[in-house]
Assembly symmetry: C2
Homo-oligomer: 118 residues x 2
């Protein structure tokens, strides 16, 4: 039986969670979860992070509709990082881009890889 | 011009870095970098993390040979997380598995997805 308490959290009770589009393998974003947000995510099937800035649950897409349906939660070898395979509705990034990782470093310069989709 | 000092580091001067196999999209691991390890990585083309447990540079695969050649570094919208597209030689995980994320949570149970490749 999986118990969220078995994971290793940082001093603030948080664990980093990487969201990856299940179909394409695209890495969408990284955010933080606590044990309660993991329980909510597993129970509802919709990804819920913990907002460090607002200090509250952050049900992804609850207001924007840009939700993440959980396909599978994975745990790393040290139990201190999560990989969330998800189905993302629309953009994952608050800038309106599919992925938050839209800036590349090429030959020492920052390059914008994608434009907002909405 | 990209300047590692422009990134947002945590209280310990660290930023999380996700390593993803460039060809397949497989997420291999997550580890931490500081500004100096980012400079080393960009200069050498071989991924160098910062080991929190040993408090020293961790040139991935320097002893094991399981190196990560950097294909491209990407930065997220908040400048507080890195995505490293890499070419991984052999396993990325210290357990001998290709990826550190070899445990899935399915129907409330932990499931081992892969066996060590070496």
């Amino acid at each position: 039986m999986f118990d969220p308490a078995s994971l290793r959290y940082d001093a603030n009770g948080l664990i980093p969670a990487i969201a990856q589009e299940a179909d394409t393998g695209e890495v969408l974003m990284m955010a933080w979860m606590n044990a309660a947000s993991i329980e909510k995510t597993l129970a509802s099937g919709m990804v819920t992070y913990w907002s460090r800035s607002r200090q509250e649950f952050w049900e992804k897409g609850a207001t924007s509709g840009h939700r993440q349906r959980l396909v599978e939660m994975r745990i790393d070898c040290d139990s201190d990082c999560l990989l969330l395979q998800v189905e993302q509705t629309g953009p994952a990034c608050h800038t309106g881009r599919r992925s938050c990782f839209y800036t590349a470093v090429r030959d020492g310069e920052e390059v914008e890889l994608t434009k907002p989709m909405v």
